[in-house]
């Protein structure tokens, strides 16, 4: 985009120049009109003077001019004067033979003509001699008028040009001064380190720029928050990844040198546990990355039948529930959502995993789906120890685990649930299960659009 300075210069200077040129034209006209009128008046006076030399002779009009009178009539400092007198029929009565007939005229009129290639001004005057209508023409070259025009133009051009030049300088200077705060801001931002996300100074910035600064500062704050959460995430992920790997490595090294079969077996079991933790974490990290709203999921969306998702969960999680001594049950009613099938599997798997991990042996975990107020929902309820209300928001944070929690797990499951729900426009709610015991996670999807129904 073109610079502010150029825009200001262009939109200030173009109208100013147009205005100056317009005023020049008007000034010229104002100065020239009375002068031209005076010259025309003098021309018509010459014609009038000529009329006094007309008389009747033998019933015919004649022009009786003495040499002296003619010299007087033709006397002019700059211009050549031509004249002629005609009768009503256009016959020449006297005067210069090269001046043609320009009549008739019922009152004095002036005209610009060209005579023998020379521009001339002519006055045509009707004159009555007795009962005969005559026409007197007096023409003069335009030298003194041209001279006047040159002088007026010269007189006007100087000051106007000076006006334009001074305006140019003043406008340029004004723009420079006006844009100074912007330039200061530019230098300030340019001098910052790329990693500096502290807010820009609010003071010393013109009020027009304040909304921009505010918007930038909000953006900086969001970015800073995202960066620090990213850093925390990486630190947590590194810890979670490397701890089981360290356990695996040390147990492996011990097992290699271990001759006692019983303790070797124990070490192998430990390794399996560590491996399981790493495997689980790798899976969860990938799921989290894939659930990102930016992951291009729109293309994978299709109609997903929620009871089918829940039934798949029954097949894959039943053995684990049996191992943990938990009764895994289902209450499934018809519901279909627009979504990404494997992500919805992942969402429900994490909720069920979570319930199976935290509910003690002998408890019940129930998976529900259906519709409430037109909104499809997925729900997992357990009658385990429950989540204290104060912790309910925090459990969705990445790597957050309930204090004093006995269950293993990396603390990503509910973050994945939250992200997947968000990418489907769904909300996740936590409250107590039935009988104020345990936990109930409810994922409410948006009601299907009327057109899709």
């Amino acid at each position: 985009m073109e610079g502010l300075r150029h825009r200001l210069l262009r939109w200030l200077l173009l109208p100013l120049v147009a205005l100056t040129v317009g005023s020049l034209v008007v000034d010229y006209d104002v100065a020239m009109r009375p002068a031209n009128d005076a010259y025309d008046e003098a021309l018509s006076n010459t014609a009038l003077a000529l009329s006094s030399y007309l008389q009747h002779e033998n019933g015919q009009a004649v022009l009786k001019l003495t040499e002296r009178a003619e010299a007087m009539l033709r006397a002019d400092r700059l211009d050549r004067i031509a004249f002629a007198v005609f009768d009503a029929a256009g016959r020449r009565i006297g005067g210069d033979s090269d001046l043609p007939f320009f009549g008739p005229a019922d009152r004095t009129r002036f005209d610009d003509i060209t005579l023998a290639g020379q521009p001339m001004r002519i006055a045509v005057l009707p004159h009555r001699l007795g009962d005969e209508a005559l026409l007197i023409e007096v023409a003069e070259t335009t030298h003194k008028r041209d001279e006047l025009s040159r002088r007026v133009t010269a007189a006007l051009a100087g000051p106007n040009l000076a006006l334009i030049l001074i305006t140019l300088v003043l406008v340029g200077w004004g723009i420079e001064v006006g844009l100074k705060p912007l330039e200061r801001l530019r230098q300030h931002v340019a001098a910052r380190s790329a990693k500096d996300l502290t807010p820009l100074p609010h003071e010393a910035v013109p009020e027009e720029l304040q909304p921009l600064i505010d918007a930038l500062n909000r953006q900086f704050a969001l970015l800073a928050e995202a960066l620090s959460s990213q850093e925390r995430f990486l630190a947590d992920a590194a810890h979670q990844l490397k701890t089981p790997l360290a356990a695996l490595q040390s147990q492996l090294e011990l097992a290699i040198g271990d001759a006692d079969p019983a303790s070797r077996n124990h070490r192998l079991f430990e390794m399996q546990e560590a491996l399981h933790r790493v495997t689980h974490l790798a899976h969860q990290l990938l799921a989290l990355a894939r659930a990102e709203p930016s992951a291009g999921l729109q293309a994978q969306r299709q109609a997903v039948h929620l009871p089918a998702v829940a039934e798949r969960m029954a097949q894959s999680h039943l053995d684990r529930a049996i191992d943990r001594g938990i009764d895994l049950g289902f209450e499934l009613e018809e519901a279909t959502v627009e979504g990404v099938p494997w992500l919805l599997n992942e969402l429900l798997a994490n909720l069920v995993d979570n319930a199976l991990a935290y509910a003690p042996s002998g408890s019940h975990v129930t998976v529900r789906c259906g519709r409430r107020d037109q909104r499809p929902f997925l729900e997992v309820e357990d009658d385990g120890p429950g989540i204290p209300p104060a912790e309910r928001n925090r459990v969705f944070e990445r790597f957050y685990r309930l204090p004093e929690s006995a269950a293993g797990g990396c603390g990503l499951g509910l973050a994945i649930v939250r992200d997947i729900a968000a990418s489907h426009g769904a909300t996740v709610g936590i409250r107590e299960g039935g009988g104020d015991r345990g936990t109930r996670f409810t994922v409410s999807f948006p009601a299907p659009a009327a057109t899709a129904a």
Partner: protein, 228 residues
């Protein structure tokens, strides 16, 4: 029982070969689709394990090509891609089951066993779960080598459960199977048949597990070893 393993990672392949051999299978390993192609078209296998991330040719297209050539061996997809889409595509192309990496050997052995059992039942009409065997053509039930008699409706229910092992059978699926025998069947009636079957199967080392809200699953009672 002979298996073909198509897997390009040598370490995973060694693990598979040893684990499956220990479970009682004869295992042929190939690393390239071209070699698997030759083996499957020329020799007889009871099942094939196909890795999806392969050099030369994608595992999915390999499966589609084999099915198009008329290879009927049951195939299980092994994949490190866990987005399920690949697995669903694989099933559509003709694979019979899938397992995502990393997997546990016992699960793989169980899946392969079920795959072979189902395929075997399909080919011979004989389906075996534990000590029980059903002839899907004649609907004759056998316990070891002796005839095992059940009332017709209980037999239909048991057959459905045996066909599905190790999966859960939905209750409405059982109702559908019984509609020919009894028009106005209530879910309670199913429970009656299930409870009668439980009493008869318990001594044989078979359990029918209720999956609340979905249906039932036939399991070999824990502690008894699965048939290979």
């Amino acid at each position: 029982m002979r298996l073909l393993v198509l897997e390009d990672d040598p370490q995973v392949a060694r693990g598979l070969q040893e684990g499956l051999t220990r479970a009682g299978y004869t295992v042929d390993h190939v690393a390239l689709p071209s070699a698997a192609d030759q083996a499957l078209t020329r020799e007889a296998f009871d099942a094939a394990i196909i890795d999806l991330g392969l050099p030369q040719e994608d595992g999915l297209s390999f499966i589609g090509r084999m099915r198009a050539q008329g290879v009927k061996v049951p195939m299980l997809i092994l994949t490190a891609r866990d987005t399920l889409d690949d697995c669903v595509t694989g099933l559509e192309l003709g694979a019979d089951d899938y397992l995502t990496k990393p997997f546990r050997l016992p699960e793989l052995v169980a899946r392969i066993g079920a795959l072979i059992r189902r395929n075997h039942a399909h080919a011979t009409s004989l389906l075996k779960v534990g000590r029980l065997q059903v002839n899907l053509g004649t609907h004759e039930l056998r316990l070891d080598d002796d005839q095992f008699d059940l009332p017709p409706r209980e037999r239909v229910v048991l057959e459905c459960l045996m066909m599905a092992v190790p999966d859960v059978v939905r209750k409405d699926r059982l109702i559908q199977a019984l509609v020919g025998w009894q028009a106005d069947l209530t879910p309670n009636a199913i429970e009656v048949y299930i409870s009668r079957l439980r009493q008869k199967l318990d001594p044989l080392g078979l359990t029918i597990r209720t999956v609340r809200g979905i249906g039932y699953r036939l399991e070999e009672t824990r502690g008894t070893s699965p048939a290979g």
